[in-house]
Symmetry: C2
Subunit: 185 residues, 2 copies
DNA sequence: GAAATTTGTCTCAATAATGTGACATTTTCT
DNA sequence: AGAAAATGTCACATTATTGAGACAAATTTC
């Protein structure tokens, strides 16, 4: 049975990633709960957003850490991390948006993300491949990192908007990412 | 000399693409103008956003139409359209976000974008390349279209966040886009 | 099925954002 | 310089959103 708290957080994530200014009323409605109940679980909007951020970071990190550990081959590690992130859907989008915005204003949050060990695992693997000349040497790591994130978002969005069939989704993303960084399998 | 109206619209575009819920106060400040003046030019928030949307659509379409016409070679057409969009910076991001959100809620706006002749020119060119088997046949056109947009955003964002040098920007985007769709030059 | 817990409804106060009028000040144009 | 236009300042009404109390209704737990 899903707890009310979880329902509210999930609803908030779905709402807020599209429209940061959605009212608590709307979030409560999306969660199938009265606004009064939402207020019982979260002191205010900031508290709610903070909770979403924390839960979603945990959720995404967990999924990607598992994916990282699922295979020995560095290429498969990266591929499975990509797939895991896509499967996170709205959760991933939410985290990404929070992180993006923080980049220009909230340095603490950026640091928090930078020091995140999922990112360092990802970087380690990419560097490994770079050193082995298995990907395009013209591109820098920060570019590849940004690209990775945006291809994930594209895949999530493409399914939601109905542009791409759910089956093709991850496949397209992987083909494109491989090509984009010139990965030699 | 830049007109007040233009200053306000530019400021609104910069603010709103990051944070849809920025106050008119903040937008006025960003434009270096009092809130009272902003209200003299725009009846209300909706009017302002509508104006931004229209102006930015015109700006982006113009830049990309020029780029399209700048060369006969289909590949160079696409490349120059990519570059033009990246150069639009905040303007392009703003339009893209408006369009994205509309996808789920505002069908009129979607139609408006769909019927846009810049998009049809782009599609025509991509189809041409697809028929000539000059790009990966596994991918669908809608996927490629989404990818095109998100690589542009990645390039814009990468420079703003300081992750990628301004010189490398367009180059990286083009290398990655080519690779992502398996384009054979 | 009774008690305890959770949630909903209704209400109201506090706050923040918005929109506008009146008038002063500044800028622009000639 | 002086008129005309644009902008700023301040004040105020309106509105939307938020947050919480009081109690009823529903749900869970034992």
């Amino acid at each position: 049975m899903i707890s009310t708290r979880t329902k509210i957080i999930a609803a908030a994530v779905r709402c807020l990633r599209n429209n940061q200014s959605d009212t608590l009323e709307k979030i409560a409605e999306e969660a199938g709960v009265s606004r009064r109940t939402l207020h019982r679980y979260f002191e205010n909007r900031e508290d709610l957003i903070e909770s979403c951020k924390n839960e979603m970071l945990v959720s995404c990190n967990k999924a990607m850490t598992t994916a990282y550990a699922s295979d020995k081959d560095p290429i498969k590690k990266i591929r499975n991390m990509l797939f895991a992130a896509i499967e996170q859907g709205a959760n991933y989008s939410f985290v990404k948006r929070i992180y993006e915005r923080s980049n220009f204003s909230d340095l603490d949050r950026k640091k928090e993300f930078e020091s995140d060990n999922v990112k360092s695992k990802w970087l380690k693997t990419i560097n490994e491949l770079q050193k082995a000349k298995r990907l395009n040497t013209e591109l820098t790591t920060p570019w590849i990192f940004n690209l990775f994130g945006s291809i994930i978002e594209t895949a999530i969005y493409a399914v939601e908007s109905g542009d791409v069939a759910k089956n093709d989704n991850k496949n397209f993303a992987w083909i494109s990412f491989k090509g984009a960084i010139g990965l030699k399998e």
